[in-house]
Amino acid sequence: MSEQKSERHTIAVLVDNEAGILARVTGLFSGRGYNIESLTVAEVDAKQALSRITVVTSGTPMVIEQIKAQMDRLVPVHKTSDLTVEGPHIERELALIKVQGTGEKRVESLRIADIFRAKVVDSTNTSFVFETTGSTAKINAFIKLMEPLGLADVCRTGVVAISRGPAGL
């Protein structure tokens, strides 16, 4: 067997929105030693009680194939799609970022927020909360720039992702 390199994949999973489903999925990852870089879940079809999970994971191609197959065999899983292999797709994260400070630093944080098209969603005399969406890399960059300016708190949703083009999951 040739040595395989670890790759980052974004996987979308359509599941029954029932009790314990998230534990089932995360238990599968921890039980089998797979990585979770991020995981998001929310109901997407109330009528059919379906939720969509987006999970970002990393592993060798053989492990990624396993992850998909293991997810598929969970009884409440309807469909698993490896967006990374299935073609072009869009990934977005939302972050809320609190920055504390006054004077020059406060102004600088606002200036950078503007460049990143982050919105101010809360402000006091000594703080801002910025809301920003974008790729993981963009949010990482934004947070890095905020660090010296009084970064106080970070909250991120993790990646949600969808394929480009007309086809659904």
Binding site: E65, A69, D72, R73, V75, P76
Partner: protein, 586 residues
């Protein structure tokens, strides 16, 4: 019973009856008292009172494996459910269809650390195929029928349904039918025809082919075994079975090379190693089979047929994976084979068989006999000889005796060999034998046991005696946890740390104390008589066969070694030291 007056507990019973369940293995307790009350009021279902919930699950497994039907378990909340966990894990690892009903505290108490509350769905999530907590009486009939559907469909497995006591007592209506499927779970039965054609191309071209088949053939049903035999005959290729697959192909047939893997035959493992085409049907490249992965069958192309897509490319990368049910895929393979009138290259096949016959001549299962001390292999040879013309079902515990049983008991048909393969659960054999005997009252059901393993569920002798089940416990008593001792001898410098079976009970008296019959053999000359007496006794019997305590189980692929690095006997051991990497493996 009018429809309106049904309680949740009545609905449970109704669903079981509609699922054609005839027997439930269980143990009562506070949370399931309503179900026991409903059981009391009917006479369609038989309840077998086990003496430990672990045994309830193993009994259900024994029932399921010997019949192909779903085994049913009923246990109470808390300790009842946690005791069942080993059995559930066992059923998951060996893909055995079981539905396990667990009691639960009333819904309003869940999460309050109520008396005998356990997070049963949480605890059993990783050791079941699926599980349910019923929170609404209206969902109860659907969930129960769905549980049976899930347990038996696709790759079978255990399903837990957790039943809060208030739900069992609530009034409800029977609003579901046994034909119900899960709303989205539909395992793929038919294999992709293009891939099947590709498989036939590969098979037609092979020069050193071998069929490597497993428990999937048995789970697929008797038709799968027939089709397998038909296809193997058509090709003229050699075939080896995994521990789980024994009986799927008649052991007496010339094309059968015996079991493969850690304690498999020399000819099976050498053929795997030298093969240029592995045709894996319903096996899963388990580590007991493959040995060291990077040396596993290095020159072969590999075809893998499995109903579980996640088994394909999990441990071993294959050239062609076909997802589907074994019987369906084999049927299509045979069709394509016949339509194309494939003719195998007889010249190459003949020389391949010539090589295999050379390996066979090593007679790898030969052992040094004795006139004074009973060799465990001898005891099993005699057991086989004296039982082979009967309808016999063999179960086992776990250890050397299990491997010797796999080597020396031969199976011509599926569903007659019940052993804990994946989990390797000591204590499996006696309750599994009870389950098999319930399903086959006239069969000769024998648990080939070790003196250590049998003590793990010995209390089930009471179950056997209560229901007058004539199960036989055939103990190969070597006064050691023999398999542990063997590993300590080979890997840990002969330091036999805690592997001596001290303070053993007198098994003959023990049988007697339970109301069964105890027999003992201490000399080779007594073995036949004791076996004959065992067979003739219409009661539960324990036979204490006092065997050579030092005997080791060969052949053996030591952990971390390859198929062509087998130890054939004691003489090989010193010559082939085990690597440090191998030492770290289980």
């Amino acid at each position: 019973m009018s429809e309106e007056s049904l309680t949740g507990a009545d609905l449970v019973i109704k669903c079981l009856i509609d699922q054609d369940v005839d027997v439930v293995f269980g143990y009562p307790g506070g949370a399931v008292l309503p179900i026991y009350d409903s059981l009391f009021k009917q006479n369609h279902l038989r309840h077998i009172l086990v003496r430990h919930e672990q045994a309830a699950v193993h009994s259900a497994e024994g029932y399921a494996r010997s019949t192909g039907k779903v085994g049913v378990v009923l246990v109470t909340s808390g300790p009842g459910a946690t005791n069942a966990v080993t059995g559930l894990t066992d059923a998951l690892m060996d893909s055995i269809p079981v539905v396990c009903l667990t009691g639960q505290v009333a819904t309003h108490l869940i999460g309050n650390d109520a008396f005998q509350e356990a997070d049963t769905t949480g605890i059993t999530r990783p050791c079941t195929k699926h599980n349910y907590l019923v929170k609404n009486i209206a969902d109860l009939p659907r969930i129960l029928h769905e549980a049976f559907y899930v347990a038996r469909s696709g790759r079978p497995g255990p399903v837990v349904v957790d039943l809060p006591k208030d739900i069992l007592m609530a009034p409800g209506t029977y609003n579901a039918t046994p034909k119900m499927q899960h709303k989205s779970y539909r395992p793929q039965m038919k294999g992709d025809l293009k891939k099947i054609e590709q498989a036939i191309d590969m098979i037609a071209k092979a020069r050193r082919p071998i069929f490597y088949t497993g428990g999937g053939v048995i789970n697929s049903g008797p038709k799968a075994a027939q089709l397998l035999a038909q296809f193997v005959k058509l090709t003229g290729f050699p075939i080896t079975n995994t521990l789980m697959g024994l009986g799927a192909y008649p052991a007496s047939d010339r094309q059968f090379l015996g079991m493969l893997g850690m304690h498999g035959t020399y000819e099976a493992n050498m053929s795997m190693h030298a093969s240029d085409l592995l045709i894996n049907i319903g096996a899963r490249f388990d580590d007991r089979v493959t040995g060291r992965l990077n040396a596993f069958s290095p020159d072969s192309k590999k075809i893998h047929v499995d109903i579980d897509a996640s088994s394909i490319n999990k441990n071993v990368h294959v050239d062609l994976g076909i997802v589907g049910d074994v019987a369906h895929v084999l049927e299509d393979m045979i069709k394509v084979w016949k339509a194309r009138q494939v003719r195998v290259d007889q010249k190459h096949l003949k020389s391949w068989w010539g090589q295999i016959e050379e390996w066979r001549k090593r007679e790898c299962l030969r052992y040094a006999g004795s006139d004074t001390i009973i060799k465990p292999q001898y005891a099993l040879e005699r057991l086989y000889a004296l039982t082979k013309d009967r309808e016999t079902i063999i179960t086992t515990e776990v250890g050397q005796h299990q491997m010797w049983a796999a080597q020396f008991m031969k199976f011509e048909k599926p569903n007659r060999w019940l052993t804990s393969g994946g989990l390797g659960t000591m204590g499996y054999g006696l309750p599994a034998a009870i389950g098999a005997q319930i399903a086959h009252p006239d069969a000769l059901v024998i648990d080939v046991a070790g003196e250590a393993s049998i003590l793990m569920n010995i209390q089930e002798m009471a179950t056997a005696c209560q229901y007058r089940l004539p199960v036989k416990v055939f103990i190969l008593n070597n006064e050691y946890m023999g398999m542990v001792r063997q590993w300590q001898e080979l890997l840990h410098g002969g330091r036999y740390s805690e592997s001596y079976s001290a303070a053993l009970p007198d098994f003959v008296k023990l049988a007697d104390a339970f109301g069964g019959v105890g027999l003992r053999a201490t000399k080779p000359s007594e073995v036949d008589d004791v076996i004959k007496e065992m067979i003739a006794t219409p009661k539960a019997v324990i036979v204490d066969v006092c065997v050579d305590p030092k005997e080791n189980c060969f052949p053996m692929i030591p952990s971390g070694a390859a198929h062509n690095e087998m130890l054939l006997g004691p003489g090989d051991v010193a010559k082939k030291p085990i690597s440090d990497a191998g030492l770290a493996l289980v």
